[in-house]
């Protein structure tokens, strides 16, 4: 629908001018990656550990940036302005796509860096990229919804991570497992459990969010 596109565009315009969320995410990712790489040093970690580290960096980086989309509306008092002119489901989807793009941008930088710095040998790029692609929908879907919830609460920061973690955990679990498999085997079929789980999760969380968003947004 047109409204979804307009909201997405507006958020992109705003982000382009302030670059707040993208900076927060990138900076967090780079700092964490550096810290991890520095501490591990020359030691070669197993694929299991590397897969977990990757997702930890990804998850916490997104925690520092995904809630921006709603918190900014509340803080600059444009929430009512937006509420006045938009349908709730359009708002959720518009901001969902924005967060999706944000995640993709993060990964475009993080993935090459991680592979290079941590010596993460990806055997099957098919599995890896597919995991990223489907996993992003789950992360952005759940993250956007929780961001909407906490934007209406009084204390913001830590609450976002506390609430998101249980909700997004299935993505983490399946994602880590699939990423490990991407570094170990070539066959796409090996990761089919994880990929199916990610796909199912993505669909369910987005549908549930669209249904529930009205209740969060409308007073």
């Amino acid at each position: 629908m047109k409204q979804i596109w307009l909201i997405f565009l507006k958020d992109v315009q705003q982000e382009f001018k302030t670059r707040y969320a993208i900076n927060a995410i990138m900076l967090f990712a780079i700092v964490t990656l550096s810290a991890v790489s520095f501490s591990i040093g020359a030691y070669t970690a197993t694929t299991r550990v590397l897969a977990a580290l990757f997702w930890i960096i990804l998850f916490f980086s997104s925690m520092s940036g995904l809630s921006h989309i709603f918190i900014r509306e509340e803080e600059t008092q444009t929430a009512d302005t937006l509420k006045l002119v938009a349908r709730p489901s359009s708002i959720y989807l518009g901001k969902f796509f924005f967060n999706l793009v944000l995640l993709v941008l993060l990964e475009v930088i993080l993935i090459p860096l991680f592979i290079a710095i941590m010596n993460f040998k990806v055997v099957s790029f098919q599995i890896f990229l597919l995991t990223m692609f489907i996993g992003n929908f789950g992360l952005a879907g759940g993250g956007t919804m929780v961001a909407a919830i906490i934007s209406k609460a009084s204390t913001k920061g830590a609450l976002f991570t506390v609430l998101s973690f249980p909700i997004l955990l299935p993505v983490l679990i399946s994602g880590i497992s699939a990423t490990r498999k991407a570094a170990e085997s070539v066959k796409l079929m090996d990761a089919q459990n994880e990929l199916q789980a990610l796909l199912a999760y993505g669909i369910i969380i987005i549908v549930a969010s669209i249904l529930l968003f009205d209740f969060v947004w409308n007073e």
């Binding site: 047109k2 409204q3 307009l6 507006k10 315009q13 705003q14 001018k17 302030t18 600059t76 008092q77 444009t78 009512d80 302005t81 509420k83 006045l84 002119v85 938009a86 349908r87 409308n218 007073e219």
Partner: protein
Amino acid sequence: MLNAKMELIAEKIVKGFGHFLVLKNISFKVSSGSAIAITGPNGSGKTTLVKILCNLMAPTRGQVVYQNNSQKINREDIFQYIGLVGPYLQLYQELSAQENIDFFARMRNLKNYSARVKQLMELFNLSGREHDSVKTYSSGMQQRLKYVCALIHEPDVLFVDEPRSNLDQAGIEAVYSILQEQKKDKILVISTNDQEDLTLADQIIRVGVA
């Protein structure tokens, strides 16, 4: 939009926040071609009532009904017919005036509105500053720009909360011409404590008085 006979009906609106009752049984009816004013002491619930009427907040009890030629309008479509100007409604600071206007106009599905934009910008003395970001506007200019954004789609019901805030004499005159225009064949709702503003209204609703 122009020849519609609009009716805004408030039926026994009650609004409470926890134990505290702000609005008690507010009812009124207003049709196209008239104006209604909401007045009362500060903090008495004027803004709350305006928000409820604009569908920004749900009442605890009672309901708000918009009717177009006696046909009830769906709650989710109301935004097409109303415009709101208020201090709590900020514009997008990082975007330019033109980008703000585009957003609000297109959200309501307007297509060819550049002529109207030009006309409104001239009326409110903002011509030439369309492409400056709203951050650089003074508070008076932002208030005037809010009027432009609220009027772009020629709303059947215009809500104005505190018409005079942040405006100098020239601004107030521009606003008044709009308000007079609006109440001629559409609905105007103002929330104010100013005596002069109250003379615009055909009906007055008092809030916060026992």
